[in-house]
Subunit: 427 residues, 2 copies
């Protein structure tokens, strides 16, 4: 009997996703998504919305009241921030150190900004002095920057940058999609105005919900652009003094009203993804954010040790490497895409290719979220070792999985010695 | 031992959601969302994307190649359509017959359109002559209209309207969020250019993914606005002749490239919601779209019969009532919100309030998607009957659940006599 493939149940092949993200979701998160639905204004639903706000204050390390999720991917959360902050003609400074910096320039430009970008060679990050100089030179209204840019595996230090902006009255926006949960991020202490994230990297969920946190200062600016849509204006409604936001879906003033006790009707909350986002944060709070960060840091050390034993050269300035992803040069004797294909099809392990100037030069190998685990890292190293051998690369050293295991064993013997972030220089 | 509520598992109270949507998801859809994840460019993932395209061609009744999903709620799909069609200064005609018509004017206006709206009293729909006259008078570039507007429960006939637009070279956009799957919708035959939907009404899923279909003509217009973001331009890239789309996330030219064999990197597809959207369509194709429509029509007749037995008066022009939702006047002796609260808290059944001019006057009672079922309808009628009695309304007639059951029994005896759409005039 032949069954039309369209009528077959979803039945994905088993994959271990060890690229730069998305990665496998935590099984608890997958199960939470299957919970029964609730109406938008059901008291049980609004209580879950409030709990989600409290949970993400922990994840973002902030006391910002306006901490919630955007219904869309991490890119939706980025655009909602920029389109709500930026009025046409505003000057926006974007320090670009990888592909996702380019994305910020692109989105800011579509919002009508006069975009000024400064650049770093891929594999490096900006110093606070460079940022301060650019802020003083260009005097932007908004600074938009990535924390971790997976295209280069670099993690931009932000501690000084938030404060530099605050001192100058510049609104700061940070895209922490790829770094949050795996690298230290202190939104409150660092005085960052808006930060957005995604679930599909270190938070252990699928793509499709974008956590966001907004300072009171940024919220006030956005609320000055408050223009409720026709047909649902509340009684006594007075529009904001500033220009209307050019998107309805991404109008954070309206989205905040939806997440307030007023519950002003806007989109229909994506309930299953809300359950999912709540569960991602719940798992992190249960494990303890510090433990989650330490788990990623340890995973990075172990992965690096295994790659180095195979004689592979790491990419970029390792003082600033993200803990959750490692760039590694493809040995000249192998075809990088053929190795990736064989890892996927023979071993069920996915590693990442790369973009732009690094395309064909490096692989990006992640260990993040639910996959920042000993067994996942050992399996990845073994599969890579076998595929490299299959393609004619002769590794010089010992067993890479055992080299990584040694790092885990050392950490088990002396857990206090794992530094959270940045990882120490290892090559 | 006290557990922090933030650390508790998701455990929603059981609810039967019989409002205008969102409603309960089909359990098969809930389970599909828990399937393991895949990488964005994994061949198994892109195959699921292709299957989804084929499945939604059935749901939309079209052969349009460009049939896929937007990662966001139904409102995201609306905005992506309008912002990709409309260039600043374009004339857009919006016939408004309820709240969601206002939403279309609002979004079109934020896209920079010169918006012209024509209005109908809530509870009525437009005739083809009225639309033709407005098209000739205003000569818009785009016509944007709802099919079913749940705010009024009316279903706008579209058969003539798509053709009227096509004859005049006007691009037609239809928001079928609330009507698709429960009311006849023939995108191909009716020559509609873009139509968008949501999962949370008759398709039996949660909110969070927005199906969309785009005619070749509309796709060509959108592709003329093709401007790839900096950092990922393909070799030999030539930007489109028309203006760049003002949103990156909703840039359908880029989203189409992502859904093409080129797989140009854009957002990270929301994999779990993709599984979910695929399963919604799979269940419909398995049941047969005609059977799904007939199930909704029968549910409507049964619900109407039950409400009428209680002496309740129905809202609007019943020749054009959506099959999946019924507006019913709140009896003067009861407090409508108190009745709704008691139905939810004592009986676990949710029915809908209403917006704007109808607020406080009617309830909206749905039976759609997975909930367009005999047991769900009988339970709702019984719960409403009990709560009306509790609040002092004395129903004149017989048992409303038995009146509805009689309709189901008649249909079982003579199934061929159920007309699909519109429902016949019943009061």
């Amino acid at each position: 009997m032949k069954i039309d493939p369209l009528l077959k149940q979803i039945n994905p092949p088993p994959r271990l996703m060890m690229g730069p993200g998305p990665v496998n979701a935590d099984p608890r998160v997958q199960r939470a998504m299957s919970a029964d639905l609730l109406g938008q204004y059901d008291p049980a639903m609004t209580e879950y919305m409030n709990e989600l706000m409290a949970l993400y204050r922990v994840v973002f390390q902030t006391s910002n009241h306006w901490t919630f999720v955007i219904d869309g991917t991490s890119r939706a959360a980025i655009e909602s921030s920029l389109v709500s902050l930026i009025e046409p003609g505003d000057k926006v400074l974007v320090p670009v150190f990888g592909r996702f910096g380019h994305l910020l320039t692109e989105i800011a430009s579509r919002c009508g900004a006069e975009v000024i970008s400064i650049s770093k060679e891929w594999g490096q990050v900006f110093s606070p002095e460079e940022i301060a100089e650019a802020l003083d030179k260009y005097q932007p209204k908004v600074l938009a920057i990535c924390q971790g840019d997976t295209s280069t595996t670099m993690n931009q230090p932000l501690e000084a940058i938030g404060k530099l902006c605050a001192e100058r009255g510049v609104l700061s926006y940070v895209d922490a999609t790829a770094s949050i949960g795996g690298n230290e991020l202190l939104i409150g202490d660092w005085e960052i105005d808006i930060c957005t994230a995604g679930l599909q990297k270190c938070l252990g969920g699928p793509s499709g919900s974008g956590p966001i946190t907004i300072s009171d200062k940024a919220a006030e600016h956005i609320q000055n652009r408050w223009h409720v849509e026709k047909g649902i204006e509340p009684a006594g409604f007075v529009p904001g003094k500033l220009s209307r936001i050019q998107s309805n879906y991404f109008d954070l003033a309206m989205v905040m009203a939806y997440w307030s006790p007023q519950r002003l009707n806007h989109h229909t909350e994506a309930t299953s993804m809300l359950y999912c986002a709540r569960e991602c944060a719940r798992c992190i709070v249960e494990e303890g954010l510090e433990n989650v960060l330490a788990r990623h840091t340890l995973g990075s050390k172990a992965m690096v040790a295994g790659l180095q034993v195979m004689g592979l050269k790491l990419f970029g300035n390792l003082d600033y490497k993200m803990s959750n992803v490692t760039g590694v040069y493809i040995p000249e004797v192998v075809d990088g895409e053929a190795v990736r294909r064989d890892m996927l099809h023979y071993f069920g392990v996915e590693i990442g290719t790369s973009f732009g100037p690094l395309h064909g030069k490096i692989w990006r190998i992640g260990a993040m979220g639910y996959n920042a685990r000993k067994d996942a890292i050992l399996r990845t190293l073994n599969a890579l070792s076998s595929c490299l051998r299959l393609h004619g690369y002769k590794a010089p050293g010992d067993d890479p999985a055992l080299a990584a295991l040694e790092i885990f064993k050392q950490a088990e013997a002396a857990p206090a010695e794992i530094e959270i972030s940045p990882v120490s220089k290892t090559s």
